[in-house]
């Protein structure tokens, strides 16, 4: 290419300029490309980019959405950083993310590996694993509220009672509430990841397993030396998706506890929500958007750094 373009630098632009009439643009499919692209651009523009742009502007404003907004510079960011509840929320969010990583990350992988080893009723198992994902989250949370009933007659406490444990306070105690939320969140979300892993596992060449079997490798060694390296790319992606997802946990604390007891499940997104909506007489929308922007920037940076650091790893 370089050899071609170098001898004719003056000719080429002129010829391309001559070709780029609207008619040729249409003839070359430019118009149809645009027409096909337009719905997507409109949808993204209206429902994603304009709100994001407005959120950025709003984070520098004081507004109650009724009277005209005033620009207040960085005041909203200063207010957010000065809020003692912010650090509680950061701590809670990190705790949730950590627990979700410890329990929520390996579970789907384990389930997928086991399921891929099963010879019969494979479809049934995938369906069962995926079932929680199709249950509407609000319904799931209401269901789990019954399970987590802290009285001795609660579902989990009844079961634990058979073996002489409990009753456990579940959602009613600062110590047990976060693990309880993670348990439900893992149950609710694992199915989706299981399906991803199962799909990836079918892509692993059976030759590798056969070779390992000839070498008399145990199941554990097969998983560790064949399956895991083959899934590396997927694992890296699901890892960052999990981090980004758990940093934005909202549904569980909002529906289960409202951030309680005593702010022990107030996460960053719940705090954002509370800034905006907890006060019935007009919330601090500026502070809410400011914290949203800070969180988004941090997660964006984190993702960028993660992908840079792991760029070499994903290539097997």
């Amino acid at each position: 290419m370089a050899a071609e373009t170098r001898p004719a630098p003056l000719v080429l632009p002129r010829s391309t300029r001559a070709q780029r009439t609207p008619l040729t643009w249409i003839r070359r499919g430019g118009l149809s490309t645009l027409v096909f692209l337009l719905p997507l651009l409109l949808v993204f523009g209206i429902f994603s980019w304009i709100p994001i742009g407005r959120a950025v502007v709003m984070s520098f404003q004081e507004t109650n959405l009724v009277t005209p907004s005033t620009f207040v510079g960085l005041q909203n960011f200063r207010d957010v950083l000065a809020d003692p509840l912010l650090w509680t929320a950061v701590k809670n969010t990190l705790y949730f993310a950590l627990l979700a990583l410890l329990f929520g990350y390996p579970v789907p992988l384990l389930a997928a590996v086991v399921m891929s080893e099963v010879r019969r009723f494979k479809g049934l198992y995938s369906a069962l694993a995926y079932l929680p994902v199709v249950i509407p989250p609000v319904v799931a949370v209401l269901l789990w509220k019954f399970f987590y009933d802290a009285g001795p007659t609660g579902v989990f406490n009844t079961i634990l009672g058979y073996v002489g444990i409990g009753p456990v306070s579940w959602l009613q105690d600062s110590a047990t509430v976060m693990p309880s939320l993670v348990l439900e969140a893992t149950w609710a979300a694992a199915g989706g990841t299981v399906i991803i892993y199962l799909a990836a596992l079918t892509g692993v060449s059976t030759d590798l397993y056969e070779a390992a079997e000839i070498d008399r490798a145990s199941i554990w060694r097969k998983v560790w030396h064949v399956t895991m390296p083959q899934l590396r790319g997927i694992l890296l992606i699901t890892f960052i998706l999990q981090i980004v997802g758990t940093a934005q946990v909202f549904l569980e604390p909002f529906l289960f506890t409202g951030g309680g007891p005593a702010n022990s499940t107030t996460t960053l997104l719940l705090l954002i929500y509370n800034y905006a909506f907890a006060n019935s007489l007009g919330g601090q929308y500026g502070m809410a958007t400011a914290l949203s922007i800070v969180l988004a920037v941090i997660l964006g940076l984190l993702s960028a750094v993660y992908f840079r650091l792991t760029r070499g790893w994903s290539k097997s």
Partner: protein, 452 residues
């Protein structure tokens, strides 16, 4: 970028829609005026039938108005979103605590001109009227109900625990003893407390008042938070003792208004504190068995300042409403909420319709108008009353004797919100340090009051 989208969308998506001004209702309509009016959510069939019947009666009398019911319930967290998103009905209700703020921000319509022309406009109870008035005394929002806090109790659980349901507790020590007895004998929560969605602060303030405390002091323009007080500490100590020494508060400490009503109506709770007029919603929304229900006045300590926290409900009209909609909306407010309190014919019609659908008539309320009007209105509907009046007597006999104290006026809901985690901490952490919790809450509330 997905993360960026998701994080900002929580607020941004909803909010952008809010800034657009609605002008779709501004032109003069030629046909019938459509008015969306609030109806309580989750009503049983009978209550919906009664409501629809009232709508039909109204539309018959006003053929050019089309009433469209919309399910609506005020909660601190959903109201702002609905207000900002412009999804409120044309006629909606808010608590007294929100009236002045909404008026100052012009977030509701100025209907004062229309209200003045109502025949009973000058007869509102002065204290009650204040909640719906602007600084200049114009009535932007119409008081439709007033309440004082009360102690609701389950008569069946009282009997099962060996307590006399006709002699409910008359002091806080008696409440504690009764709660313990109920918990021990029945295994249910003897006493439960609201703790989430700002209601934790609401009830804590109620108990503070009953102990003779106040949560804020107003001196001219300056508001001082008064959360770190002996009264509030005593209230929290009582709750702590009931929870941790007596174990009489059950196992759920994260109750919101709907949740505690449901638990009470299903017989899980012996006693709880909430608005005295709660009977209606307990029956229509939570299927309470009337035979279970008992209510009594909130015990007050001997301190001279001890009083009952009182509040109420305002009917308001959306700021977006056009003139014809405003006029129709005020007609509806008059017809549905107020006329029955001041006009015999309307009172009888309302009671008849309500009774026909087996809905409660005669649940206790505080008067919105003067006492004489109130007493007279009770006489009009006396033959239709279907609530168990004997069971309400411990409350109705004494409710007018208790000094009524209005809710804190500055940043009410925000201060309530600060108190939510305080009461939650006392109920869920055995080693909670009450003094420390109150000191921190006080500082936080003061910072908030200074900022606002």
């Amino acid at each position: 970028m997905k993360s960026f989208t998701a994080a900002t969308l929580v607020v941004a998506l909803g909010l952008t829609a809010c800034s657009s001004t609605d002008s779709d209702q501004s032109e003069t309509p030629t046909g019938p005026v459509t008015v969306k009016v609030a109806r309580d959510p989750g009503l049983d069939k009978g209550a919906i039938a009664a409501f629809d019947e009232r709508v039909a009666q109204f539309e018959k009398a006003n053929p050019d108005i089309d009433i469209v019911p919309q399910e609506y319930n005020w909660t601190a967290t959903t109201f702002t979103a609905q207000l900002a998103g412009g999804t409120l009905p044309d006629v909606f209700t808010v608590p007294f605590t929100d009236g002045r703020g909404l008026i100052e921000r012009k977030q509701i319509a100025d209907i004062s001109g229309l209200v003045t022309s109502l025949p009973y406009a000058g007869r509102f109870n002065e204290n009650v009227a204040k909640a719906g008035q602007a600084e200049d005394g114009k009535m932007w929002a119409v008081p439709i109900a007033a309440y004082g806090q009360a102690l609701h109790y389950n008569r069946t659980l009282f009997k099962q625990a060996g307590l006399d349901p006709d002699k409910p507790p008359a002091g806080w020590d008696e409440i504690r003893a009764a709660a313990k007895q109920i918990a021990e004998k029945t295994g249910k929560a003897g006493y439960a407390q609201l703790t989430t969605d700002n209601t934790g602060g609401w009830i804590l303030t109620t108990l503070d008042y009953a102990y003779g405390g106040r949560t804020e002091k107003i001196d001219g323009d300056k508001a001082t938070a008064e959360l770190d007080t002996p009264e509030l500490a005593a209230v929290l100590q009582l709750l702590k003792d009931m929870r941790w020494s007596d174990n009489s508060m059950g196992s759920n400490f994260l109750y919101d208004w709907g949740g505690i009503n449901q638990a009470f109506a299903s017989g899980q709770i012996g006693m709880y504190v909430s608005g005295g007029g709660n009977y209606g919603s307990l029956v229509t929304q939570n299927a309470l068995k009337p035979a279970d229900y008992g209510v009594t006045v909130l015990p007050l300590t001997d301190k001279p300042e001890a009083g009952v926290l009182g509040g109420g409900t305002l009917a308001t009209v959306s700021a977006k409403a056009s003139e014809p909609v405003k006029a129709a909306a005020v007609k509806w407010i008059d017809f549905y909420y107020l006329k029955k309190l001041t006009d015999e014919g309307a009172a009888v019609l309302d009671a008849k319709t309500t009774v026909a659908s087996k809905q409660p008539v005669g649940a206790p309320q505080l008067p919105v108008f003067d006492r004489a009007t109130y007493d007279e209105s009770l006489k009009w509907v006396a033959s239709y009353v279907n609530v168990p009046q004997e069971q309400l007597k411990p409350y109705t006999d004494k409710m007018f004797e208790q000094p009524l104290v209005t809710e804190p006026v500055r940043s009410t809901q925000e201060v309530y919100k600060i108190l939510d985690p305080v009461v939650q901490a006392v109920l869920t952490q055995k080693d909670a340090d009450i003094a420390d919790l109150l000191r921190k809450a006080d500082a936080e509330a003061q910072a908030l009051l200074d900022r606002n």
